[in-house]
Symmetry: C2
Subunit: 238 residues, 2 copies
DNA sequence: TGCCGACGGATTCTGTAGAATCTGGTTGCC
DNA sequence: GGCAACCAGATTCTACAGAATCCGTCGGCA
């Protein structure tokens, strides 16, 4: 199935920042690049619009969504509500051993005095993914897990954009902070302290939100995409 | 734009119950019915899958989603989390006059001693929509409002299915109950009692969930759609 | 002889390609 | 500055290739 392959590839490129926000996606060009006709490309773009990573403008094709600081805040607020719901449902149901492994990994990261090397960045990200996945899978609500997955992808999109934007300035500090936030959550879960876990998760999401959105333009600087397409028209994808 | 028209029409039919859960949507047949070729139909089905009202099976087309009781519960849980978040954000920001109008309408409904006539059912539904819309629009979070809108559509789909299934048995009772729940929310909002409003909203959603899902099959009775398609094949759309 | 399951062709439907049409924006001319 | 031809690109249509399903036939077996 070609559509699915195109969806996955494009999603990776958008999330990975190789396709810039506001960029105009031309079906013909993508068709050439992927070596398929434009039909599956169109269908992939419709699917991506459903996921929320591109905007579809009638008769004017698709543009990669641009996220202003306000939108990031909005998405984070929704994500917080859902992740907290997941923690509430998961508390007391998560495999003890799994939590233990996570806790030790996080303690290791925090104890480390040297700055993070790049493979340790990967390790930190893996732990992050793992924790959130374990929680959403343990909440006994597949629909909730699916929704969280969707938001996580969006969230990763602007996290990576921010990362790229400012060349990891003081990222290492943020990673350590994140590890401590995660540890707080894990410890609360191990105590079966539901309220504490929810609080910790809420703080964690909002702190990430503040961090990852701080370099983004405010909505005044980057108005909603709808009316702005003409601006990026013609820039192509260089 | 034909695709959009097809999406809207099909969505209405699914939500309105004219297309039954599990029904197989054949592109050619739909193309004939809508008087377009099957390309926009395919695209519409992809969009509908994004919305969540149909499932796409590779090389076997689309089927209208079947909702088991568990899935309804899952969706309601997510909806509750989001609606509560919206109430939290909206409390203190909603136009006073708007709330007053709603309160009087709800009080009128509750005071009414005669059973609801059908135009009063419509009135009750309008008040329901209005309240939820006012809240999600006042929460200063368009993204959240969009998500809630999506879920509301799904929710309406199985509410209508339930309604149809059992011919309004004691629906009127439920409508009165709903009005009282709505009134509790409105009154809390008018007092700027954020916690109270959130609690009331949570109760309201879960009570609706229990009510609307009570006639649905459990997931054991209606297994995941994936393996069941052959069963409905050949029934056509008549 | 009557029933059952395997095999194979016919049919139906999905997925893709390429052509035709339509739309909106742009550019050059008056 | 206004208008009209032009052009790029989106949308839709038609046709076809491949996958899945259906249906009738055939051979084995009790």
């Amino acid at each position: 199935m070609r559509r699915k392959a195109v969806v996955e590839d494009l999603c990776c490129e958008i999330v990975g920042g190789r396709l810039r926000p506001g960029e105009h996606l031309v079906t013909r060009a993508l068709a050439d690049r992927f070596g398929v006709s434009h039909t599956p490309i169109r269908e992939a773009l419709i699917a991506l619009a459903g996921i929320g990573v591109v905007d579809l403008l009638p008769n004017r094709g698709a543009v990669v969504r641009r996220f202003s600081r306000d939108e990031v805040r909005e998405i984070c607020q929704v994500r917080r509500a859902l992740e907290c719901e997941a923690v509430r449902g998961a508390c007391g149901r998560i495999d003890e051993a799994e939590l233990l492994v996570l806790r030790e990994a996080l303690r290791g990261m925090i104890a480390r005095t040297t700055p993070f090397a790049s493979d340790q960045v990967a390790e930190a990200r893996a732990a992050d993914s793992r924790l959130h996945d374990v929680i959403s899978e343990s909440a006994a609500n597949p629909f909730l897990a699916k929704e969280i997955g969707r938001l996580k992808m969006l969230f990763r999109a602007f996290r990576d954009a921010s990362w790229q934007r400012e060349e990891n300035r003081n990222d290492y500090h943020r990673l350590g902070e994140e590890a401590r936030e995660h540890l707080t959550i894990v410890e609360a879960l191990m105590r079966n302290d539901r309220a504490g876990a929810v609080r910790a998760m809420s703080r964690h999401i909002m702190s990430g939100c503040r961090y990852w959105s701080r370099t983004l333009p405010t909505s005044a600087e980057a108005p909603a995409v709808g009316g702005q397409v003409a601006r990026v028209k013609g820039k192509g994808k260089s």
